[in-house]
């Protein structure tokens, strides 16, 4: 690629540099928690909320809110990176890992290599299953030790922090294992199929 154009009179960052190797290319660190969603915020009742694990069309397992809360809980502190160029460091989450969910339905290995996440409001996103195993992803229900705000995806969102944050689908209700990778909502609207922030895979073709 050719050399980037120097912008006359642009000196950039006035704030302290973030820790080395924490911020992917083209990102900047924020301290607030911006909200980005394509539609209205769904507000499902916890009484009727269910989370389901599915293989193609068949149900592998399903949990009510209280059943989900009774599953082994995991806490992690991670950096998150939004495709709109903000990154937030050291975010603290609690939830149920995908490993735990698979074990809970008696599976020692995933039934298919890809997954589609389905959400309230109709949002979908695709994630390779390998990117969700060995503690790499969870269905998160708490942020900073408090129940997850609806605006941020509460009651439950996927958290797959090593990919751009649109993959961490808000208001997630169903994880469907599929045999072939398929584009979800933003992936059908010009965004990258995989979304690795460190390779700056923002849009299709990146």
């Amino acid at each position: 690629m050719s050399e980037p154009l120097i912008s006359r009179g642009f000196f950039g960052r006035k704030r302290p540099a973030p820790p080395a190797n924490r911020v992917p290319p083209g990102q900047h660190v924020v301290t607030d928690f911006p909200v980005l969603s394509a539609g209205p915020t769904p507000r499902p009742s916890l009484d009727t909320w269910r989370f389901a694990l599915q293989h193609r069309g068949s149900l592998l397992g399903q949990w009510s809110w209280s059943e989900f809360e009774a599953l082994t809980q995991t806490s992690i502190t991670v950096d998150i990176h939004c495709v709109t160029t903000w990154s937030k460091l050291d975010t603290r989450w609690q939830g149920v890992t995908i490993d735990t969910l698979l074990a809970a339905v008696g599976l020692s290995a995933p039934p298919a290599p890809f997954a589609m996440l389905h959400c309230d409001g109709g949002y979908t996103t695709n994630v390779p299953v390998a990117d969700m195993l060995n503690g790499k992803a969870m269905v998160a229900t708490r942020f900073d030790e408090a129940p997850l705000d609806p605006e941020h995806g509460g009651p439950a969102r996927l958290l797959v922090p090593h990919l751009y944050f649109w993959k961490s689908a808000k208001w997630v209700r169903r994880l469907q294992f599929i045999d072939q990778d398929e584009p979800g909502f933003w992936e059908s609207n010009g965004y990258h199929m995989y979304g690795d922030p460190w390779r700056e895979q923002r849009y299709a073709g990146d």
């Binding site: 912008s7 642009f10 960052r13 909200v35 394509a38 849009y203 073709g205």
Partner: protein, 258 residues
Amino acid sequence: MRETDAASDTTADAGSQRLAWLVATVRDVIDETPRVRSLVLDVPGWRGHLPGQHLAIRLTGEDGYQAQRLYSIASAPEAPALMITVERIEDGEVSPYLAGELRTGDRFELRGPIGGYFVWHAPAGGPLFLIGGGSGIAPLMAMLRHREAVSSIVPARLLYSSRSVEDIIYRAELDRFAAREDGLIVRHTLTRQQPPGWTGGIRRIDRAMLAEAGFPPAERPQVFICGPTSLVESAARHLIDLGHDPAAIKTERFGPTA
């Protein structure tokens, strides 16, 4: 949410090709309000856009430091040059440069268009209900400029919240659009300060204002809301309470970009 419409198909078709960085040259700067400036850009190689889409800007300092930010496109696809509108955040990194330092003839990099969901163009029909707050007017203005450029008479309503009359972006142009009486009704509300004799709204956008300024749910309007998160969240919630279909409400939340 509807996943596909004519607009997103257009984006998907072009999607397999990488969005290349292009060089934009500033043709003109327009001071819209004391804190907001529009940049009119010549961008050779720009492949066109749909109203509501955005673009990424990349600035590079002499030491190689780079910063990227996203801005909505404010111009109609039919316009001879691309326009973005930037609100200056004093302690920000990119906006004081774009809305302060930058002069006619300066160049920087951009790529796009980005986003295939928050878009409207005339073939999508109406009615069209646009709700904006502050600089969130920009993508809605692209829709209204497009509507005017193609002489669309799709019934349209804009409800636009600003702090004071001096903070209204594109005011003269909106007045001119409304005066055409071609099916567009523009309603302003001023949340902090109103001039003597002001006949528009005098409070934040609320349920009563949305009911009065918009279309009845039975007319199944396409709704686009853009502005600060608090405005978007409350407007979307009120519209659903009023009986509008959540799937017909498209949102873009942006605070000012630092």
